[in-house]
C-alpha cells in the first residue's frame, strides 16, 4: 500500500475493523432495528414528498399548470378517483423514482431564481418543459399512464368506435399513450406545432 492516508482516516479504519466486545446478538438486533427505522423513515419522507401540497410548495406550478389541471378529468370527475401530480410525473418503481426526484431538483433552482415565475416567462418556457416531459414519457412507454390505463386491460369494444379503432392500431404499431394524448391535463404550448400521432 503505497498511499499514505491522513491519520484520522487510518484511526477510524482501525476502530471500524476492530472486533467489538458486544455480543453478536445485540449488534444484529440494533442493526436490524436501525435498518427498519431508517428504511421506514426514508420511505415515509419519500411519500411525504409525493404529496400535492409538497409539490406545489417548491415547484413553480400553483398559478399555471396546477390551475389548468384542476379543470380536467384527472382532477374532477364523476367517480372521485383522482390522479395527483406524482401519479403522472413520478415513476412508481424505486430506481426510476429516485432518478426522477433528483432530476426534478433542477426545477427547485428555477423556482429559487424565478426563471418561470410570471405567466409570460412560463409560456416562453412551456414548450421546452412540455417536450422534456413528453420525451420522458415516450422513453418509459408512458408508464405512469399505464399504471392505471393498461392497454391489455382495456375493453376496446366498449369504447367509442373511433377510439377503439385507433387504440387497436396504436397497440399494433407499438405506439405509446403520449404519442397522441398530449395536453390532457395542462394547456399545450403556444406557437408550436404539436405532433400528435393520430
Amino acid at each position: 500500500m503505497g498511499i499514505k492516508l491522513p491519520g484520522f482516516i487510518q484511526r477510524f479504519w482501525k476502530w471500524f475493523r476492530k472486533p467489538s466486545h458486544f455480543a453478536i446478538g445485540s449488534i444484529l438486533t440494533v442493526g436490524i432495528v436501525m435498518g427498519i427505522v431508517f428504511w421506514g423513515g426514508f420511505n415515509t419522507a419519500m411519500e411525504m414528498s409525493n404529496q400535492e401540497d409538497f409539490c406545489i410548495s417548491c415547484h413553480e406550478m400553483e398559478n399555471n399548470v396546477y390551475q389548468e389541471y384542476v379543470g380536467t378529468i384527472h382532477y374532477n370527475n364523476r367517480s372521485g378517483v383522482r390522479a395527483t401530480c406524482p401519479d403522472c410525473h413520478v415513476p412508481k418503481e424505486w430506481v426510476p423514482k429516485m432518478v426522477r426526484k433528483i432530476q426534478a431538483s433542477k426545477e427547485l433552482y428555477a423556482k429559487a431564481f424565478g426563471i418561470v415565475d410570471t405567466p409570460k416567462k412560463f409560456e416562453e418556457h412551456r414548450f421546452e418543459m412540455a417536450s422534456r416531459e413528453w420525451e420522458r414519457m415516450k422513453a418509459n412507454d408512458s408508464q405512469e399512464c399505464r399504471n392505471c390505463h393498461n392497454f391489455e386491460y382495456m375493453d376496446l369494444t366498449t369504447q367509442k368506435p373511433v377510439a377503439s379503432k385507433i387504440h387497436n392500431e396504436a397497440e399494433d404499431e407499438g405506439k405509446t399513450c403520449i404519442d397522441c394524448h398530449k395536453g390532457i391535463a395542462h394547456q399545450l404550448p403556444k406557437d408550436h406545432k404539436i405532433e400528435k400521432a393520430i
Binding site: 379503432k165 395536453g183 404550448p189 404539436i194 393520430i198
Partner: protein, 144 residues
C-alpha cells in the same frame, strides 16, 4: 256610507296587492331566506347520432361533449379530428372548405382565423327540451 267603506277597503286591498307584487325580487317568487333552486346541469348523451340540419347553412350541432377539448388561441383540439388531413382516420365530419377561406375568399392552407373558434357557431347538443315553445318548421328535406 257603507258603500264608500267597501270601495275604500277594496281599493286598499288592490293597492297593497300591487305593492306586494312589485317587491318580487329578481330571483322570482322566493323567500329571502330560501336558497335558489339549482337547475341540474344538462348532460351530453353518451351516444348521440349526428343531428339533422333544420335549415340551409345551419352550423351543424356537435353530438359529443367538448369539455376536455382545448380550444384557445394556442391550440385547436377540434381540428385534431376534424381537419382535412385527419378526418379520414378519425371518421369525424370534415371541416367545410368555406372555413379555409379568408374574408376576401382567398383559400388558405389552414382554417382561416375568422373560422378558428369552432364553438362560436357550432354548439354541443345536450339532452334538454327547448326553453321556450317554438313553432319553427324545417322546410323540405331539412330537419329529417
Amino acid at each position: 256610507m257603507k258603500g264608500k267603506f267597501v270601495v275604500s277597503a277594496l281599493l286598499a286591498v288592490c293597492v297593497s296587492a300591487a305593492a306586494f307584487a312589485e317587491v318580487t325580487s329578481l330571483r322570482g317568487d322566493q323567500g329571502i331566506g330560501e336558497g335558489n333552486e339549482v337547475v341540474a346541469i344538462k348532460q351530453v348523451p353518451k351516444k348521440q347520432d349526428r343531428l339533422a340540419l333544420d335549415y340551409v347553412n345551419q352550423p351543424p350541432l356537435i353530438p359529443h361533449s367538448t369539455d376536455q377539448v382545448q380550444l384557445n388561441p394556442s391550440n385547436n383540439g377540434c381540428l385534431e379530428c376534424h381537419d382535412v388531413d385527419k378526418y379520414r382516420k378519425s371518421g369525424a365530419p370534415r371541416v367545410s372548405p368555406t372555413h379555409y377561406m379568408d374574408s376576401d375568399n382567398k383559400v388558405l392552407g389552414d382554417v382561416a382565423p375568422r373560422r378558428y373558434f369552432c364553438l362560436q357557431c357550432h354548439v354541443t347538443q345536450v339532452d334538454a327540451t327547448p326553453l321556450v315553445e317554438n313553432t319553427f318548421q324545417p322546410a323540405g328535406k331539412f330537419g329529417q
